[in-house]
């Protein structure tokens, strides 16, 4: 096998791993009922889900 073929193969593998990493990183946080809970102040705990709630400081 020629050097340039090895180089193309290596680039393809690195590129594939990069894309796979990107995809896995984009996976949204899953809500797991009954999963481990955060402490009341959230310190030192892994939240099991996130949820964005908007508000305006007005009643």
């Amino acid at each position: 096998m020629k050097k340039w073929q090895l180089l193309v193969g290596a680039v393809a593998v690195v590129g594939g791993l990069y894309l796979l990493n990107q995809k896995l990183s984009q996976k949204p946080t899953q809500y797991i009922p009954g999963g481990p809970a955060a402490t009341a102040d959230g310190v030192g705990a892994q939240p099991r889900a996130e949820f964005g709630v908007g508000f305006l400081p007005v009643t």
Binding site: Y31, P33, G35, P36, A37, A38, T39, A40, D41, G42, A45, P47, R48, A49, E50, F51, G52, V53, G54, F55, L56, P57, V58, T59
Partner: protein, 313 residues
């Protein structure tokens, strides 16, 4: 709302300064849910945005305010005047229409001017408007700063008045039901906690004024304590299940005044299935955890305006 629920979900509170940008964030799925004025939520549903009203934020909590030395003494005196409203799609707008009808006044007997809520007090102070109707703490601000006088609290005009409601995107309701339930249970529990010692000193409300004023609203705790305690029923946080009869009335008013293009059935825009049995709601604390000195200092520093960068040559 606390940042962390007892069971481990992070509810990220995102502050907005106006309803149009909040609406856009909800449409663009930048947020999963929001507290929004009820008719605006109904308009979104009417426009085909997949959202449902799942709970109320509070009851009452708005006021009609006039200048301190204004000759306006009752609703009919507002004829020919300019009154600021938070939005065309607000229940405050519909209440004004309802009151004009009730008093036999033509619908054009006063000018209703849309003004963003935080600008209501300054508009009154500068006499750009003769009165304003909006949610707290803006009426209390005008009162405490000495240029506003409450003509009516909402509880006196439309008892159990509905202003802001919890709106949730439908795909979240379908796919993350336990999360929505956790959120609604948390709102119900917070409401129970805020109202449960109202007749015995209202320490819970005083705690809430301190924490929310410093940590979330960046407003003076004294102002929020005024809102929550003077009088004690100025705003209430129980009985928050969306009531069909009241929403039908809001819908009829909205269609009649052309705020909404068509009448919708209650089930088209409301989902009451998350509203918990209040007798079973667990309030997980007695006193609210107070922020530490370091947290207060960090919040104060974050709210300070940043110095302008020097102009580049």
């Amino acid at each position: 709302m606390t940042q962390h629920s007892a069971s481990g979900t992070v509810f990220k509170a995102q502050k907005f300064t106006d309803f149009p940008s909040m609406k856009e964030a909800l449409i663009a799925r930048k947020i999963d849910a929001t507290f929004m004025i009820a008719p605006l939520a109904m308009k979104l549903a009417s426009d085909g945005v997949p959202v449902k009203i799942c709970y109320l934020g509070h009851r009452d909590g708005s006021a009609l305010v006039v200048g301190k030395d204004s000759p306006i003494r009752d609703f009919k005196d507002l004829a020919g005047k300019t009154v600021a409203i938070p939005s065309r799609f607000s229940n405050q707008n519909l209440l004004m229409q309802r009151m004009m009808k009730k008093n036999g006044m033509p619908i054009d007997s006063m000018v209703l001017k849309e003004v963003p809520p935080p600008e209501h007090p300054s508009a009154l102070a500068s006499k750009a408007v003769d009165a304003f109707i909006v949610g707290e703490p803006h009426p209390s601000k005008a009162e405490l700063e000495g240029y506003g006088r409450v003509l009516y609290l909402m509880k006196d005009l439309w008892p159990e008045f509905i202003s802001c409601v919890l709106v949730v995107r439908e795909e979240v309701i379908l796919q993350q039901r336990p999360l929505v339930q956790e959120l609604v249970d948390g709102i119900a529990a917070s409401g129970e906690w805020l109202d449960e010692d109202r007749e015995t000193g209202a320490q819970h409300r005083k705690d809430a004024a301190f924490v929310v004023g410093n940590m979330f609203y960046s407003q003076k705790p004294e102002l929020l304590e005024h809102v929550l305690t003077k009088p004690i029923d100025r705003v209430s946080y129980t009985n928050l299940m969306p009531p069909k009869e009241t929403f039908d009335e809001i819908m009829d008013l909205a269609v009649e005044t052309k705020v909404l293009p068509r009448r919708m059935e209650f089930a088209e825009y409301v989902d009451t299935s998350f509203a918990p049995d209040l007798l079973k709601v667990d309030v997980p604390f007695d006193r609210l955890p107070m922020p530490t000195e370091a947290q207060l200092a960090a919040t104060k520093a974050a709210s300070q305006p940043k110095p302008a960068e020097p102009a580049k040559k």
